[in-house]
Amino acid sequence: MDMIWVMIKKELKQYFISPIAYVVMMIYLTLSGFFFFTNMQTFSDQYQRLKNISQYMQDPSVLAQFNLNGMVIAPSLGSMLFVFLYILPLVMMRSLAEEEKQKTDELLRTSPMTLNQVIAGKFLGSLSFVLIMFLPTLVFMSMLFMYSSPEWGPLITGYVGLTLFAGVGVAIGLFASSLTENQIIAAVIAFVLLMILLMVDRLTMSMADRDIITGVLSYLSIGGHVSNMLRGVIDSRDIVYFISFMFFFLFMTRRTMEAKGWR
């Protein structure tokens, strides 16, 4: 555990002593803030309109289905996930590729720690960075609580869902970074893998009659699992899905590193 902790601290330090961390965080928070703002704007426009209609029709039930959770929180979390799709490959591309290119992997290879400790340290270090990057978005959400009273539950499950998605993205990014010493190639591979995982259920649209394949493909797709959590539904199947994908890509990372002689 000490060695994992040493690796986590090293990874975080490497993020924060280079300008990359601040640039990536700024891009992430700006984009998320932008999407939050547009969602808020849509909400307030629609709300005004519906308020007029309900007054005119003298029927308050029109407004009942209209809430911040569905109109602002869920879509904002959805757009943050969308931004992750682009940002995670950039956050992760350096991880192992740069160690190999600068030959600093020899320091890690001759240090008294196991390969699992190296991988766990790299994974948890990067995941902590991603959490530090996206937790400030809670400031946006807290503004909603200052002026209204949305439900807590879906907000919490939404953040848990985003964290799990980030975990899968970080594991994929780590795997991509283990394949090559070229950061650009690593970023592209990670982006394509994440994109495929998000989009694979689109294939099922034209083959509604094939039950098994449709079932498998839509299970494999991240989209459905994440949207459950963004809506506030916690299903153990979704959690198993995320955890198993994380471990699958960490295992693939281990195999790649073993093939390069890491022990």
């Binding site: 000490d2 060695m3 040493v6 601290k9 090293k10 330090k13 490497q14 002593i17 280079s18 600068q102 030959k103 600093t104 992997d105 020899e106 320091l107 890690l108 290879r109 001759t110 240090s111 008294p112 720690m113 196991t114 002689g261 022990r263």
Partner: protein, 251 residues
Amino acid sequence: MIKVDQLVKHYGPHRAVQGVSFEVAKGEILGFLGPNGAGKTTTMRMITGVLPPTSGSVHIDGFDVSQNPLEVKQRIGYLPETPPVYLDFKVKGYLKLVMQLKKVPSSLRTPNLDWAIEKCGLQDVAHKLIGNLSKGFRQRVGLAGAIINKPQVLILDEPTVGLDPKQIREIRKMIQELSEEHTIILSTHILPEVSMICDRATIIHGGKVVLDQRIKDMTKDRTLEEIFIDIISKDQTASAEDLKATPKEEN
């Protein structure tokens, strides 16, 4: 202290190292020589556990590198060809990281850090970014990283490359001082360096050990350089003859 036994490394069809064996006793400095591409770096990487050997074994202080890698890694300091330094770290920050990675007990960290910085002459650059340092200084930072946990075994791959003559002399002196407590394998192309500071020289060529002798026993009539050139060129003519001979046999 170090026992290398029938070490073999193949990269696909290419046989980089073909059955290298030697032993280094405690406190000895071994000069590890050979022309470019002879398999020096590959052998050193296998000794330090960076590369798994195709076959053969390495024992350090009785521990097998492939069976007990953690025990071995705690006992060695390794300076690879390219110093494994993080360019965006400051010198002190990097050395502190190395101590954590090498599990140096926290009570020893301050004295070890000061000792390594002083030994490698890094006082003036301790607070500078490694990326802004010259090649020679990066080499010294790498060396400081290799010795900072005061390992029993020190493996140095061309430690004096890129240093100025004054630094080279300092590093040599340092290596000699270290040999009182440490066992050292030193690879280099500067042959007089070996005659000066090493106890023994091992020459490998084409992935095989072609000479393993004490310095004392060899420099009576011929210099190490003469011996080295002699062995290498003899081997080259031999292999050239091999090549000529093969088609004849077919005819």
